[in-house]
């Protein structure tokens, strides 16, 4: 009995000792941390950014590809059952591979047969920094095998809001000169590869481009009126390499330009 009491007392003592040590460790750690960052006795001087700091430049590294239409909206339809929404999706996959080979990150506004709204597609691009937007279309008309590039025509930008935000429905106006440069580079590439393509980019009030705050172009291939879809499928590699090359050339222009949409 005495031996059992002795063991009980010893056991209790050991438990108490261990608990005391466990409490000391965090205390010691917090004390060490306090030593590393002592509370300042004198208030530190407030750091003021240097006046007229040079604006940060964005580097072009992201391409947002927009296979147009989708879901219940098939887009242009050919007599042979061709659907624009399906053709541009497979075209986007080829362009994506070519761009990733060049080192660009690629986002797609849709991966499958869904139909995000114009604004949802624009929001995806507008959330990126250092991005361009390419919306892909296949028209119903035009010389078969040709490609046209469009930007918005001139339209007035809204006066900058006091908080520096751009008006959503006129966001493209702020970057229209950059979009035009991008479009000219892309159209030149297409003109080299596809006979019958115009030599210079065109303008049209394409709804999808309006709310984009990044350089944006619309690319339209001709056309779903061809009887054999192989004609359009054969254009895929050429379109992909033309866009990848145009983006690579435009990167030098973009990286040297002021931050798109920045206030003066």
């Amino acid at each position: 009995m005495r031996i059992a009491s002795l063991f009980l007392v010893l056991g209790g003592a050991v438990i108490l000792l261990a608990a005391a040590q466990a409490q000391q460790v965090p205390a010691a750690r917090s004390a060490g941390a306090a030593q590393q960052t002592p509370a300042p006795l004198i208030p530190a001087p407030v750091q003021v950014p240097p006046p007229q700091a040079p604006p940060q430049r964005a580097t072009l590294k992201i391409v947002v590809l927009d296979p147009a239409h989708g879901g219940t909206d098939p887009g242009a339809r050919g007599t042979g059952g061709m659907r624009e929404s399906e053709m541009v999706l497979s075209l986007a996959a080829q362009i994506r591979a070519a761009l990733e080979k060049q080192g660009f990150s690629v986002l797609q506004t849709r991966q499958g047969n869904d139909n995000p709204s114009f604004d949802d597609r624009a929001a995806m691009a507008n959330a990126q920094r250092g991005a361009v937007f390419v919306t892909l279309h296949i028209g119903s008309t035009g010389l078969p095998g040709s490609v046209r590039v469009y930007t918005l025509p001139d339209f007035p930008a809204a006066a900058p809001a006091p908080d520096g935000l751009l008006a959503w429905d006129r966001a493209q106006a702020a970057v229209l000169p950059l979009s035009r440069k991008f479009a000219e580079l892309a159209q030149a590439e297409f003109a080299q590869r596809f006979k019958g393509s115009p030599g210079s980019a065109q303008t049209a009030p394409v709804r999808q481009l309006r709310s984009l705050a990044v350089p944006a172009i619309a690319v339209e291939l001709s056309s779903v009126s061809v009887e054999d879809s192989a004609v359009l499928e054969q254009m895929g590699p050429g379109v992909a390499s033309a866009i990848a090359r145009a983006v690579a050339e435009f990167k030098a222009v973009y990286d040297a330009a002021p931050v798109p949409g920045a206030r003066p």
Binding site: A68, H69, D73, G75, A76, R77, E84, F118, H137, I138, G139, S140, T141, G142, L143, S146, R148, Y150, T151, P153, D154, F155, P156, A157, A158, A159, A161, A167, D169, R170, A173, A174, L176, P177, R180, K181, A183, E184, G196, P198, S200, A201, Q202, T203, A204, P205, V206, R207, Q208, R210, A218, E220, S222, S223
Partner: protein, 249 residues
């Protein structure tokens, strides 16, 4: 039951069945006719109500310029001069030239507008904003695509520009409604600038685009400088309220 009454009952029933069999085809035809009448759309009724604008033979014949697709230039328009007895009153004149444009050229391949599209109404506001209300086939029968939709709107705008100098801007409605796009691509939320004069340069837009522009947006500043090809189709000044303030006879 008395056997005599039973005979009368059976005979009466047989007569009723025979009468029903004779009347059934008549009834069926009447139901089908009623269904056809119900299926007639509001647009068709509206089209029937609106008076067709015909070329008045009494008016002096003038050379009107109509813009259809170009045979030489892919994606371009070509002016075709046609002698028509056009009215001097701008709304009537605009209806006449647009109906002639919709009727199409001699070569149907050079059409820019679907053959089943119709001009439902045309208004001209005092500030020079024209509102052209087309039937639904303008959107549903037009081949979908940026180029085809651009050609359609340009052919309307340039035909108005050439023949109705009072028109400064053009707003397109489809079946009386504002729509976001024509056939999935071209933005119809704005009025288009209808240029005057022979210069191909775009007309300088005045205020901001979009009748639906939020009120918080401040007045527009100058447009960004053009670096590319000259625009042929330019969103113009918002027409403001789109109610037909002045409908001239």
């Amino acid at each position: 039951m008395n056997p005599r009454w039973r005979v009368w009952l059976v005979a009466g029933l047989a007569a009723a069945v025979a009468a029903g069999a004779i009347y059934f085809p008549v009834l069926r035809r009447r139901i089908q006719r009623a269904a056809r009448l119900q299926a007639q759309s509001v647009e068709q009724a509206r089209r029937e109500l609106s008076q067709p604008v015909t070329i008045a033979p009494g008016e002096p014949r003038v050379k009107a310029q109509l813009f259809w697709a170009s045979r030489e230039e892919d994606g371009g328009l070509a002016a075709v001069t046609v002698e028509l007895p056009l009215a001097k009153e701008p709304v009537l004149r605009a209806k006449q030239v647009l109906n002639t444009l919709l009727a199409g050229p001699v070569d149907a391949e050079l059409r820019t507008l679907p053959p089943d599209a119709a001009l439902l109404e045309f208004y001209l506001l005092p500030d020079g904003t024209a509102i052209a209300d087309f039937s639904e086939p303008l959107a549903t029968s037009l081949p979908s695509g940026i180029e085809s939709e651009k050609l359609a709107v340009e052919s309307i705008a340039r035909t108005l520009e050439a023949n109705v100098p009072q028109v400064q801007r053009l707003k397109i409605l489809i079946h009386g409604q504002e729509t976001e796009t024509l056939a999935g691509h071209l933005d119809l939320t704005d009025a288009f600038a209808v240029k005057t004069g022979s210069s191909p340069a775009p007309a300088a837009p005045g205020a901001g685009p979009g009748a639906a522009t939020p009120a918080v947006v401040a007045p527009a500043v100058a447009a960004a400088p053009a670096a590319g090809a000259p625009a042929k189709l330019t969103p113009g000044t918002a027409p403001g309220k789109l109610s037909p303030a002045e409908k001239k006879p």
